[in-house]
């Protein structure tokens, strides 16, 4: 590339680069400063540097690891369920969607509701005295589980998250399934492939990049769960439903330990970067298939 063209390219990209540095770089620098300081609301403008003790405090805090485990477990479980359910719906409903595409728009509706409102909605639906679900279970079976209690809270949260976000998986996987060329299927059929074999050997491998991307996006979104969880059960009895986002929120706003909260978020940032880099590498390698 000629030197002049290279210079022009750099010049043209400079404003965007400056914008990104200002938008991402400034908060990052501020976070790094806070994470190595003793700082609360009272002295938010005058943080006192204390080295890496906030990081050590977070790493030594069993609640930090409990929150990390909760988020990881939650993220993995709901992502797997959503991808499997989305894939099943995309395949089984494909003929229906081909004839009545407006049905897809109908199935997308849960995604239109703000997660915090979804949490509030289920808090009402599952409330023993005003909710429909406990009412009918009591009428029909004479009893009902404590949906938001200690033993059921995790299952309820997984169900609520799955009901709201499976349509997202369905949307991407339906597009991927519909994009497979009929010629490929026809060629496979001529070779004698039918039903399950056609799906496992032709459709599924061709959809793998889309499946990987869907899982990737849903995992990121579920791992950082906050809104619906917070409005539905909060941090839970004894902190039993504390996700990483809630841990950071509690440390920042409730405890006022801003240094600890920011250090925890920085650790999360590093861990997320490593995980996402690995997943991204895996999906990128699958792409040529």
């Amino acid at each position: 590339m000629p030197r002049t063209s290279r210079f022009e390219g750099r010049l043209l990209i400079a404003p965007l680069t400056a914008f990104l540095i200002a938008l991402l770089g400034f908060p990052l620098v501020l976070d790094i400063i806070y994470s190595i300081s003793r700082v609360g609301f009272e002295d938010i403008r005058a943080p006192e540097p204390i080295g890496f003790s906030n990081y050590a405090k977070a790493m030594a805090d069993p609640e930090f690891w409990a929150a990390a485990w909760f988020s990881l477990r939650f993220g993995l479980i709901v992502s797997v369920i959503q991808v499997v359910a989305g894939l099943a719906l995309a395949v089984f409903l494909a003929p229906l969607f081909a004839k009545r595409p407006w049905l897809i728009a109908l199935l997308m509706l849960p995604m239109m509701v703000a997660p915090a409102l979804v949490g509030l909605m289920y808090r009402l639906i599952l409330h023993e005295f005003v909710g429909a679900v406990p009412y009918y279970l009591l009428e029909w079976y004479g009893d009902f589980p404590a949906f938001l209690g200690r033993d059921w809270a995790f299952t309820t949260l997984v169900t609520v998250e799955t009901l709201q976000w499976t349509p997202f998986a369905l949307l991407i996987l339906h597009s991927s399934y519909a994009a497979i060329s009929p010629d490929v299927r026809e060629a496979a059929a001529l070779d004698g492939a039918r039903g399950r074999r056609l799906f496992l050997n032709i459709d599924l491998p061709l959809m793998m990049p889309a499946i990987g991307i869907t899982f990737f996006i849903r995992f990121i979104d579920s791992f950082r769960v906050f809104d619906n969880l917070y409005t539905l059960v909060g941090p839970g009895a004894g902190g039993s439903t504390t996700s990483m986002s809630i841990y950071i929120y509690q440390a920042f706003f409730k405890v006022g330990d801003i240094g600890l909260a920011v250090a925890a978020s920085m650790l999360l940032l590093v861990a997320s970067f490593v995980v996402l880099w690995v997943i991204n590498g895996l999906t990128a390698r699958k792409a040529p298939l």
Partner: protein, 439 residues
């Protein structure tokens, strides 16, 4: 060109005037939703009718959820978006560094009892005008208790149940004479799974969500047993027998099924919904719940059938947690003069009369409350209970008091839910409090 210059000059002049106008206005950040907002709106209207243009009040409200966290962030950032902001007794120490103390006008000393003014004091200084007082009532279904006190079969069953679950035969009493043990026996009696003849599904509804406000409700039980956060030497005393007894009262009631299964996620609204559905016989709840529960349109199942008394007595006496909401001056305010004028007016008997009639819950002196007692009979009881039974835990207004409530909420809910033993929960609480409350 001349026209352009004229336009620009005019625009600059208008902008400057606009800024000056905005600076002169007093912006008040109030407690959103509910009767407090309704009361403040009426009071502000009345003030604006007599105030000069430069002193008029504009009201703004956040969402109630996370209100104090957002307020802390705004105050710490030196926000000038409001001149007057909400204060709460339990957050005084947290906000005091970002607020200006006020000098109480003489009128406010005639409007509020001394004990109520003290709910807005920190480190010997007055930080706000107290607009609302919150405390706890023991709510009970008067129709059910009436029958319990008169029906021989129910009385006999009550004795059997108290013997079986509490180890002693108790007799039903008038709620105003209850000890916490009497309340437990009543809650057990009115629980369907224990007494199939009970007309209600549950004897009580406990607010056991991991939430700081729920600790305040429970503290009325703990204080009656003699529990306190610290002794006079500043030593943390939460691992006392009194705290253990009070924690076990909730634990036993929850484990025996006298409260809904989801109680570990219940707070104010859920408890009201349970009681309002007519399926709960008693509950310890904030005074603010009475209006809605006794409203025939909102809760027809129980309206007109609700009795309220002060919380039951324990070995150390009868107590109710109290805290006040009030309004004080943002240190970063650009219009402190206007803010002082508004607060001076708000502390007068006339202003509080307007505020109370519009729904607010101020605790007023006898002379002032007499003027509103017809429309707001509950305010008479509010003042009486606050004076006779009100308490604030030792350290309850400290800079990190809110964090102490949060810590207790986390640890004690872990015990009630069965995730931690009593010893583990109390040890963690004591260690955390020692760190938070160290001088």
């Amino acid at each position: 060109m001349t026209r352009l210059k004229t336009l620009l000059t005019s625009a600059a002049l208008f902008a400057a005037l606009g800024v000056t106008g905005a600076m002169a206005e007093v912006t008040v950040l109030g407690w959103p939703g509910g009767p407090e907002e309704a009361g403040l709106r009426k009071a502000a209207d009345a003030y604006n009718a007599i105030a000069s243009d430069a002193d008029k009040v504009k009201l703004i409200f956040f969402n109630r959820d996370g209100f104090f966290d957002k307020l802390a962030a705004d105050l710490a950032a030196g926000s000038t978006d409001f001149d007057v902001n909400l204060l709460a007794t339990y957050a005084l120490g947290r906000y005091a560094p970002f607020m200006d103390p006020i000098t109480l006008p003489d009128a406010s000393k005639a409007t509020f009892p001394e004990k109520v003014l003290a709910t807005m004091q920190y480190d010997g200084k007055q930080y706000g005008i107290p607009t609302d007082l919150s405390l706890h009532f023991m709510y009970y279904r008067s129709d059910l208790i009436e029958k319990l006190l008169s029906d021989a079969d129910w009385k006999a069953k009550y004795g059997e149940i108290s013997e079986k679950y509490l180890g002693k035969t108790l007799e039903p009493k008038d709620p105003d004479a209850w000890t916490w043990e009497d309340w437990m026996a009543t809650a057990l009696f009115f629980t369907k799974s224990i007494n199939s003849d009970s007309p209600t599904r549950y004897g009580t509804v406990l607010q056991m969500k991991n939430l700081l406000f729920n600790m305040m409700v429970w503290h009325s039980v703990a204080r009656a047993q003699g529990g306190d956060w610290m002794n006079d030497k500043g030593e943390i005393t939460v691992d006392s027998p009194a705290y253990r007894t009070a924690l076990d009262i909730y634990k036993k009631l929850y484990d025996e099924g006298t409260s809904p299964k989801d109680s570990t996620t219940y707070e104010f609204a859920e408890a009201n919904a349970a009681f309002g559905a007519g399926q709960v016989a008693t509950m310890v709840q904030w005074n603010a719940a009475f209006g809605d529960l006794d409203n025939k349109e909102k809760t027809p199942a129980v309206a007109g059938k609700i009795g309220t008394v002060a919380p039951p007595a324990g070995p150390e006496g009868r107590f109710t947690h109290i805290h006040g909401l009030g309004l004080g001056i943002n240190k970063a305010s650009k219009n402190k003069e206007g803010a002082v004028k508004f607060l001076n007016w708000l502390g007068t008997p006339d202003a509080m009369e307007i505020y109370a009639k519009a729904g607010g819950s101020p605790a007023l002196s006898d002379e002032v409350v007499a003027k509103v007692s017809t429309e707001r009979p509950d305010l008479v009881k509010l003042g009486q209970f606050a004076g006779a039974y009100g308490f604030v835990m030792h350290g309850g207004t400290a800079a990190k008091a809110l964090q102490v409530y949060e810590l207790q909420a986390k640890e004690f809910t872990a015990y009630w839910a069965g995730d931690k033993s009593l010893d583990e929960a109390l040890a963690a609480t004591k260690a955390g409090m020692a760190d938070l409350l160290k001088p």
